[in-house]
């Protein structure tokens, strides 16, 4: 037991470095992906056919293709097309795409939850489309979407472990690296799992609490 704790303590700094990378790649992907999801949700409802078409393709590919395939496509596939990216950038593109696709559905559901009378009232008092969206529809739609968006963010942190496949030095990659030099794969992967859990379990509890709070005010 002491031996295990010593082993963990010895490798904790490297593992925390990996966790930082996991959190960073997730954070940047969400920061790009969620606004993308909002734009896609609006584009899918757009009156312009080409816009709708493009949005639907982006969403369906992002949701249809496994995240691992998207990662490998951006990292190994794009260089064939003349675009070489480092692993962090590739990871962000793939995960932001995935995030945009899934969150567009979450946000679309939020937009649909806003009663039609709200849009009519906004139009009747003279607001233009953009103002109606900005001041009346979106605040209500996003409030509905927030718990699902946060839940999705937690899933994305876990999904970022797939980035080990493109040599991004995130938590799981670090664990494998340590495993391959010490031949103690099991204990180090357990530590990786514990570190994910240390973030995800409190975050999940916080999200459900928020959900209850928002539900109580609705």
């Amino acid at each position: 037991m002491n031996d295990l704790v010593d082993f963990w303590l010895e490798h904790l700094p490297a593992m925390l470095d990996g966790l930082m990378v996991s959190v960073q790649v997730t954070g940047v992907s969400l920061a790009i992906g969620v606004p993308l999801g909002l734009l896609l949700a609006l584009a899918v409802q757009s009156r312009s056919k080409p816009m709708r078409g493009i949005a639907i393709v982006v969403v369906e590919v992002g949701r249809g293709a496994p995240a691992l395939i998207l990662l490998q496509f951006t990292y190994f596939g794009l260089p064939n097309a003349g675009l070489s990216l480092d692993s962090f950038s590739s990871a962000v593109i793939a995960l932001a795409w995935c995030t945009g696709a899934y969150t567009s559905e979450i946000i679309r559901a939020g937009l649909e939850a806003v009663p039609h009378g709200q849009k009519e009232a906004a139009e009747a008092i003279g607001l233009n489309h953009l103002d109606a969206l900005r001041y009346v529809i979106l605040p209500q739609a996003l409030r509905v979407s927030v718990p699902a968006l946060l839940g999705f963010s937690i899933l994305m942190l876990q999904a970022s472990s797939l980035c080990f496949a493109i040599a991004l030095p995130e938590l799981v990659s670090q664990a494998y690296l340590i495993g391959s030099t010490t031949f103690r794969y099991m204990p180090i992967l357990v530590l990786a799992g514990l570190l994910y859990a240390a973030i995800c379990i409190p975050a999940t509890i916080a999200v459900s609490a928020l959900e209850r709070k928002l539900g109580a005010h609705a």
Partner: protein, 264 residues
């Protein structure tokens, strides 16, 4: 107490040229004809009640007037802006129209995420370009007029239905409209709460506001409005001075409707 002090002068200059005119307005949804050949003209200061059976097109008529529902035929003229069916109105035309016409809905449709004050101020800032201070000051006056100044910082969900509808009236008045449209403003309310809304509307009417009121309140139609329009099956079947129409309707369809209402 006057809710619209400027309208006396409006009434003096406007009688020849109507404030609002509908010419042969029609609306179809697919093949379903909902409004047919509606002609209507409204002088400044006039209060018109529209009554008629459910599904006769009363709400659709109001929604065609402010283009929430674009008419399929005919034209709507307000002041010197005319919107022809079939042409998408320009942003400017739409803006003129929406600023000239305030609308109050059966289900209030207040913005639940904004305080009462913000509900009333929002359009003043975004549409009229007032600063927040200016807008809030005007909103406070309007809320005081509908008797709800003390609710300014509350959220709408904390207000009763009657209070919410009065807030909705203040919100519609905030753009200084020339005409107010009411679509069954008391139908979602208990009779008692309805009364407080009706009394605000009566004050508005007495202050000279031009109003079109779709209502099931026969007393309001008879006593407050100058003119009553009875609709059935998408058409105007009878119209005239409220006393005459309500007590002595000429057409068979109008008699049948009023009979049914009074028997209840």
């Amino acid at each position: 107490m006057s809710l619209n002090s400027s309208s006396i002068t409006q009434a003096d200059v406007a009688p020849k040229q109507p404030l609002l005119r509908l010419d042969a307005v029609g609306k179809t949804f697919g093949t379903h004809v909902v409004l047919e050949d509606i002609d209507l003209s409204l002088a400044a200061g006039e209060v018109v009640a529209i009554i008629g059976p459910s599904g006769s097109g009363k709400s659709t008529l109001l929604r065609c007037i402010n283009q929430l529902e674009p008419p399929t035929t005919g034209r709507v003229t307000i002041g010197d802006t005319t919107i022809e069916a079939g042409h998408t109105p320009t942003r400017r035309e739409l803006m003129v129209l929406r600023r000239s016409i305030g609308m109050v809905f059966q289900s209030f449709n207040l913005f639940p995420h904004l305080t009462v004050l913000r509900n009333v101020s929002l359009a003043q800032e975004r549409v009229m370009g007032r600063t927040r201070e200016q807008a809030d000051a005007v909103s406070m006056q309007l809320l005081a007029r509908v008797g709800l100044a003390d609710k300014a910082q509350q959220f709408p969900s904390r207000c009763s239905g009657g209070q919410q509808q009065r807030i909705a009236i203040a919100r519609a008045l905030a753009l200084d409209p020339q005409i107010m449209l009411f679509d069954e403003p008391t139908s979602a309310l208990d009779p008692e709460l309805g009364l407080e809304v009706l009394s605000v509307m009566r004050e508005l009417a007495e202050g000279g506001m031009t109003m079109i009121v779709v209502t099931h309140e026969m007393r309001f139609a008879e006593n407050v409005s100058d003119r009553v329009i009875i609709m059935a099956d998408g058409r105007i079947v009878e119209q005239g001075p409220s006393g005459t129409v309500m007590r002595n309707p000429q057409t068979e369809r109008a008699q049948r409707f009023l009979h049914a209402v009074k028997d209840r």
